[in-house]
């Protein structure tokens, strides 16, 4: 691919989205049969999720959302949407992902800002489709002229140059996950499960273009969510970059969304005994003075997952800093190190005693 993407302020893209929402959006309908079909369509457009896919403008009945703290994937920007079948709603859960009805879909586009008219270079769109047999995960890779995304089952490696937050440009090999790798993160007790749409992740304000509103309130108000308490009574994680939030909460929020999909008692890394979920109360289980079990060279010669007050002696930080396969964590989803996360975790571990 090798297309050079020029850095552009994230705000500009948001403005473009807002402007688009305020403009007359052509009515487009989501095709529920595509969501429920045994074989996924070859093209993303068959679902009808977007009114204008290139600008990531959703079709009617498709709502954008964002977690307070996102998973890091090589600085990609993400556009997330939920589709709920007509007249249906998701059931509230205080701890886990909401209980979505069959026919619901979660859509997530990975993109980098560029100098095109809409300011976005789309890389891939992943969909989670809730069928009778459970959730199905598929990835669609956008073509060069951004007119369509094609189903990709076996995964793909895409060479590209991406803009960095500090203004630089970096050549990376972007990895589109294969079907099994989707499950590498989205699995609880072996079954595919959404990660993001949990109460604590959505319980914060979101700019819907026509106005800002708490997402839980919006979901409750529009009938997408039932059984939920008022936002004030629901759990909430902070934005990990919000320096006014407590350091401990910011770090735990980051670990929850970046690590806990595997590092939880029911997850793919259950055998490690390291559980980084937001609600984990057992200090040893979330790494404090815990010895590794199967870290191999991932230990970096260190003995303790989180050595309180000693970030340089903590395996957890060593693996977040690393970009080397077999050492770096998470294992999937990134090839670069996020220096902001390293700084946050270093400060957090330093603060522990």
């Amino acid at each position: 691919m090798g297309r050079r993407l020029i850095r552009r302020a994230f705000g500009a893209a948001v403005t473009a989205l807002a402007a688009g929402l305020l403009a007359t959006v052509p009515a487009a309908a989501v095709d529920e049969t595509a969501i429920l079909a045994k074989r996924p369509p070859e093209q993303l457009s068959a679902f009808g999720f977007f009114a204008d896919a290139a600008a990531q403008l959703p079709a009617e009945g498709v709502l954008p959302f964002a977690p307070a703290t996102p998973l890091f994937t090589d600085f990609a920007e993400k556009w997330r949407f939920v589709y709920m079948p007509e007249g249906k709603s998701a059931g509230y859960d205080e701890e886990e992902a909401f209980h979505f009805p069959v026919g619901a879909a979660l859509i997530k586009t990975f993109a980098y800002p560029d100098d095109s008219e809409d300011g976005l270079h789309l890389v891939e769109t992943r969909v989670l489709l809730h069928q009778d047999s459970g959730w199905q995960a598929w990835a669609y890779v956008w073509n060069e002229d951004q007119s369509e995304a094609e189903l990709n089952i076996a995964g793909a490696k895409i060479g590209m140059e991406i803009p960095l937050p500090d203004g630089g440009v970096k050549a990376i090999t972007y990895a589109v996950p294969n079907k099994n790798q989707c499950k590498g993160c989205h699995a609880i007790n072996g079954a595919v499960t959404p990660i993001g749409p949990k109460a604590r992740n959505l319980n914060h304000a979101f700019d819907y273009g026509e106005g800002t509103e708490n997402q839980l309130a919006r979901w409750i108000g529009t009938g997408l969510l039932t059984g939920a308490p008022q936002p004030a009574d629901a759990p909430s994680v902070p934005d990990w970059l919000d320096e006014t939030a407590p350091l401990d909460a910011r770090a735990r929020a980051w670990l929850d969304i970046n690590c806990a999909h595997c590092h939880r008692r029911e997850g793919p890394a259950s055998n490690s005994g390291l559980f980084l979920t937001w609600s984990e109360k057992d200090q040893t289980a979330y790494g404090i003075n815990k010895r590794p079990v199967a870290a191999g060279r991932g230990s970096g010669g260190l003995h303790i997952d989180i050595a309180p007050g000693k970030p340089e002696e903590s395996i957890l930080l060593y693996r977040v800093v690393s970009d080397e396969p077999g050492v770096m964590m998470p294992e999937l989803g990134r090839s670069l190190t996020d220096p902001r996360a390293v700084e946050l975790l270093r400060d957090w571990i330093s603060s522990l005693n």
């Binding site: 089952i153 076996a154 995964g155 490696k157 090999t173 990895a175 294969n178 079907k179 099994n180 790798q181 499950k183 590498g184 699995a187 072996g190 008692r265 793919p268 259950s270 055998n271 005994g273 040893t284 289980a285 003075n289 815990k290 010895r291 590794p292 079990v293 199967a294 870290a295 191999g296 060279r297 991932g298 230990s299 970096g300 010669g301 260190l302 003995h303 303790i304 395996i315 080397e324 396969p325 077999g326 294992e331 999937l332 090839s335």
Partner: protein, 417 residues
């Protein structure tokens, strides 16, 4: 490329129309042949698209893989043309924590090799009935702390069979079975790893007929705290050749196998009801057999750090203990026993209440060996790595007695044979 074999449907064809109708509902077992000339993507795709009953045939040759492979379909066999003919090379791997990851049930992996993965070689997680047969996992540069941790690595699995395979160069354990239940490890060769074969936090394992040589330590039976499955028990280690384990420990620091001294034959740490018998041990220069408590501090009320019920009998001991490792554990042992270090060493750690009273019969260490077998209890104080007496107890007769042997492990995948 996909050849459909209607073997299941052919037999009823000759019988009655009724049988034919019934056969139409049977799923087709397909054979999918993949060759190295198709490139790594085809192989990855074949594994992803595999369906129940399929056999994926890997033709001879060498694949150069840049990413880990994964299998998530039940009832699939992956078969190569032999561990020296079908080679999956991961020298250029740039992603994933292992070479091949299996997360499904009733899977057979056989007759191929995995080389030079960045992390573990072949991992199976949460798999019921996983068979690894006639495989080779190797880091071709020899012992190096940059090698992956585990070669053959079933974890949190049930009905685990590992047989007739070869593993070389793992920086932790060549064959590592962790937090699993009902395990048979037989007829394998583990060499030039830190640990040859390790059974950790597992229930019901038979480890027999293996050769563990030129590792740091030959066979380890460990139990560790703070894990979802702990309290390993009912382990039989028998009829193995454990010889010349003489590779310096090259585990990255921080890993529990880092404590294993060069020249360790068989080591039992924590666990309940472990039977070690009929093994042939020689050329293990620290000691042939070590029975020990978990030595690190930990915070886990559920964990039992001392071995409970160990029975060692009818093994044969050649030369050994004559050049103990210079590291912490080797020096500690030899400092107490002198050289040569006895054939069998027990750290002598008991729980504090038992130190003041006694250890119940089912929890003791029993030894029944040939008359010239040497023994020492180090009489260590728990977790201090210090003896409470300067002279070890060398009286093997203190350990007379026996324990009832666990029944042989029965594997679900062998139930029909």
């Amino acid at each position: 490329m996909k050849t459909i074999l209607e073997a299941a449907a052919l037999a009823p064809l000759a019988l009655a129309p009724l049988a034919l109708a019934a056969s139409l509902t049977l799923s087709y077992a397909a054979e999918i042949t993949v060759t190295p000339f198709d490139g790594p993507e085809k192989l990855a795709e074949a594994l992803i698209l595999a369906e129940e009953g399929d056999t994926i045939l890997l033709q001879p040759g060498r694949w150069n893989l840049t990413d880990g492979l994964s299998l998530d379909a039940d009832g699939v066999t992956i078969r190569g043309a032999g561990p020296d003919r079908t080679i999956l090379s991961f020298t250029q791997q740039s992603g994933s924590g292992e070479g091949l990851l299996v997360t499904s049930d009733r899977v057979v992996l056989e007759d191929f090799a995995v080389e030079d993965t960045k992390g573990d070689g072949i991992k199976a997680k949460d798999s019921d009935q996983i068979t690894m047969r006639n495989l080779r996992v190797e880091w071709t540069n020899g012992p190096d702390e940059k090698n992956g941790a585990y070669g053959l690595y079933p974890v949190s699995s049930r009905n685990v069979l590992i047989e007739n395979s070869v593993v070389r160069g793992a920086s932790d354990a060549g064959i590592y079975v962790g937090q699993s239940q009902d395990i048979v490890v037989r007829g394998n060769r583990a060499e030039y790893n830190v640990a040859g074969i390790e059974i950790e936090n597992s229930f019901r394992a038979d480890v027999h007929g293996n050769t563990a040589t030129h590792n740091t330590g030959g066979i380890l039976i460990f139990d560790l705290p703070n894990l979802p499955q702990q309290g390993g028990h009912d382990i039989r280690v028998f009829d193995n050749d454990v010889a010349d384990n003489d590779t310096p420990n090259f585990a990255p620091e921080g890993n529990i196998v880092g404590i294993v001294p060069k020249g360790m034959g068989i080591m039992v740490m924590a666990n309940r009801n472990v039977h070690v018998f009929g093994n042939r041990l020689s050329g293990n220069a620290t000691t042939h057999m070590l029975i020990a408590a978990y030595p690190e501090d930990y915070d886990d009320d559920e964990y039992m750090f001392v071995p409970r019920g160990v029975y060692i009998h009818d093994n044969t001991y050649g030369e050994g203990g004559n050049a103990p490792d210079e590291g912490e554990v080797g020096k500690l042992i030899a400092g107490i026993t002198g050289e040569p270090v006895p054939d069998i060493v027990w750290d002598g750690v008991t729980r504090i209440p038992e130190w003041f009273s006694w250890v119940s019969a089912g929890n003791r260490v029993y030894i029944k060996e040939a008359e010239d077998t040497t023994f020492a209890s180090l009489k260590m104080i728990s977790q201090l790595l210090l003896p409470w007496s300067s002279s070890p107890n060398r009286d093997i007769a203190d350990h007379a007695g026996s324990l009832p042997e666990p029944a042989p492990v029965k594997l679900a995948q062998e139930a029909g044979s």
